[in-house]
């Protein structure tokens, strides 16, 4: 762990930047209530990097959108609190929330081919982000736009500013989305699988650069991914999500090397690099259950090799020393 992340971890204990408690975001659909997020707790210090890991459909994106207040009907935050820097994001009125979005809390989306508006020039999309939050001249905003492109390592920024999204590669578009996220110097960035749609080579670069940028500017980061390997070299701490709940949280080293929850264990065993080191390559058995039809008790029960009769009752998070927490009756302690 480098020095800044040690500081970040230390600060977490004092005054978190973001504190989510018991967040529940449900969708009332015709087929039933989809409990996409069902009791999530997240704590994040200033400048800290959290990896939010879980398979597709586990509720990672909805957690991110809940923080930004971007849940649309039929979805709704039905319970819990999101405290950001002393502000209650859930009860806050929409205009106040708008002023935080893209200014204090920014988000990067998964698919860069869809996030930029196809009919607007790049400069427009950057400048409007500045002017939505600050009374600055267009010339001043354009200068900031250019600086932001330089910051994310985009060559010949003046030319790119005049381009339309379709003229740029996927990697370039994602860099621009990152520049948009950074342009107002937010305190928190939520990155929702931003490299999943990109080539592996560009993936590595972008992860490295975003980490550097966050460290340099002291920006906290929630990096959402389905791939544990991606966050291993990036995050200070990792939260593992399954079926709308966080099942395990801990420092990256703890989670990767001493996973407590059987699901985390399964995820780690299915990463090929671990298998080649002598572990058997392991796939978690069974399929991701439908959120409309979760097993009674622990949602992982039907796939779990350690399940016991107690697991018919849903476990609550157990807090352990060192900031760890696990939601399991039989953790690998």
């Amino acid at each position: 762990m480098d020095v800044s992340s040690m500081q970040a971890t230390a600060m977490t204990r004092q005054e978190p930047l973001l504190s989510i408690k018991g967040l529940k975001t449900h969708f009332a659909t015709r087929a039933g209530v989809v409990k996409a997020v069902d009791g999530v707790d997240i704590e994040l210090g200033r400048g800290e990097i959290l990896g939010l890991v879980g398979e597709s459909g586990s509720g990672k994106s909805i957690t991110g959108f809940s923080i930004l207040g971007l849940i649309d009907p039929p979805g709704r935050i039905v319970d819990g609190s999101i405290d950001y820097d002393g502000l209650d994001l859930v009860s806050m009125d929409e205009e106040a929330r708008r002023r935080l979005r893209g200014n204090d809390i920014a988000m990067i989306f998964q698919d860069p081919s869809m996030t930029l508006n196809p009919v607007l020039r790049i400069d427009t999309q950057l400048i409007e982000t500045v002017q939505a939050h600050a009374e600055v001249s267009t010339a001043e905003a354009r200068q900031r736009a250019r600086d932001a492109l330089v910051q994310v390592g985009i060559p010949s920024p003046d030319e790119r500013l005049k381009a339309y999204p379709y003229e740029l590669s996927g990697g370039m578009r994602q860099r621009i989305a990152i520049a948009i996220a950074l342009i107002n110097k937010p305190k928190l960035i939520i990155a929702d699988e931003p490299t999943t749609a990109l080539d592996v080579s560009i993936q590595g670069q972008i992860i490295y650069e975003v980490k550097q940028l966050c460290r340099r500017t002291g920006t906290a980061l929630i990096w959402i991914t389905h791939d544990l390997a991606v966050v291993a070299g990036l995050a200070d701490r990792i939260s593992v999500m399954y079926a709308g709940r966080i099942v395990e949280t801990g420092t990256t080293a703890d989670v990767i090397e001493r996973p407590l929850h059987p699901y985390t264990q399964g995820l780690i065993d299915s990463v090929p690099s671990h298998a080649t080191r002598g572990h058997r390559l392991h796939q978690i058995k069974g399929m991701t259950p439908s959120l409309l039809n979760l097993p009674k008790g622990c949602a992982f029960r039907e796939r779990c090799e350690k399940a016991t009769p107690e697991c018919l009752v849903a476990p609550e998070p157990t807090l352990l020393p060192g900031g760890k927490s696990v939601r399991c009756w039989n953790p690998a302690l």
Partner: protein, 331 residues
């Protein structure tokens, strides 16, 4: 870059060639069609006229020749810009049409402006909250405007505003002001009063369509990631609506509004007939009834040209709205 600059004229020239092909085919069809329907001289002479008088008239109009000779003569003259004279009045067909043009263009421009100004906001509203009662009311209205026959809407408006309330005239063009050679109603109050009902009749039907297109486009664009991203950037709702949404739904709206505009200019027959509006549609229907072939043919040729040009304008508008369309033109 040089390639890009040269490509646009090529695609324009292609379109013009297409237009000439369409005009040739269409003129043959109209010629043969009107030839089969009947003898125009029967419309022109009194029932008591002798066969000799009729023959003389046929000869004078060139109708004694075979249909193909007549057609080739027409083509030969048309190439030189001469579309013949009306059988009925003897005036040059082109002149007749051009004289009627301002009335139609004026009517259609006002009607289409109304339909866009009313239809786009209502369509967006209905698209933003599809389940709200107001949206359902808008859509019901649009279905009515869409499915009720245009002449019936016209008659109802006449009943209400002209007969029952007696506040608006039901026919003719009212006072006009000449701007150069062009007579315009929209410059006088009386002109507007006459324009109101026909423009409303035509505009309501078009608005119904614009509402549906706008609503569908809005519903398609709203779930897009770039709209969510715009919200995540903290943009004000007005900016998201007026820039991010509107610019994207403009493409289908321009398509439909453009085509409807062309359709209305070329064939505003029903509305013009109901309101005795002295425009081109009225001229067309009158000429068809009297089998006044030179006018009908000249009219249709002009309209094909007009529609081709209009399509070009729509394509150029696309390119202005959608940057990636500029790219596609090259292929």
């Amino acid at each position: 870059m040089r390639k890009k600059d040269r490509q646009v004229p090529v695609f324009i020239i292609n379109r013009l060639f297409q237009a000439i092909g369409v005009i040739l085919v269409m003129s043959v069809l109209v010629f043969v069609g009107l030839y089969l329907i009947g003898d125009p001289t029967s419309m022109l002479v009194s029932p008591e006229a002798t066969e000799i008088e009729r023959q003389a008239l046929r000869k004078a109009l060139g109708l004694d020749q075979s249909i193909w000779v007549q057609y080739l003569t027409f083509l030969g003259n048309a190439v030189h810009g001469d579309f013949g004279r009306s059988f009925l009045t003897g005036q040059p067909a082109l002149q007749l049409i051009v004289e009627r043009m301002p009335a139609t263009v004026e009517l259609v421009v006002v009607a289409m402006t109304f339909s866009v100004v009313v239809g786009v906001p209502l369509g967006i509203l209905a698209g933003l909250r599809p389940k709200a009662p107001s949206s359902k009311a808008i859509m019901t209205g649009s279905i009515l405007g869409f499915s009720l026959p245009n002449f019936w809407i016209g008659l109802m408006l006449i009943m209400l505003f002209a007969v029952y309330l007696g506040i608006l005239p039901a026919s003719a063009r009212g006072e006009t002001v000449n701007v150069g050679p062009v007579a315009l109603s929209i410059l006088t109050l009386d002109g507007w009063r006459h324009l109101a009902l026909p423009a409303l009749t035509l505009g309501l039907a078009k608005a119904a369509l614009i509402i549906r297109v706008t609503r569908a486009a809005t519903r398609e664009v709203l779930p897009m990631d770039y709209i969510k991203f715009a919200r995540a950037k903290g943009l004000r709702p007005s900016r998201i609506l007026n820039v991010h949404l509107l610019k994207n739904i403009l493409i289908p709206i321009v398509t439909v509004a453009g085509l409807e505009f062309g359709q209305a200019i070329a064939f505003a027959v029903v509305t013009e007939s109901v309101f005795s509006w002295p425009g081109m549609g009225k001229l067309l229907i009158d000429s068809i009834i009297t089998l006044d072939r030179p006018v009908v043919v000249a009219y249709l040729v002009m309209m094909v040209f007009f529609l081709v040009i209009l399509n070009l304008v729509i394509d150029i508008l696309y390119m202005a709205i959608d940057p990636s369309a500029r790219e596609k033109v090259r292929d």
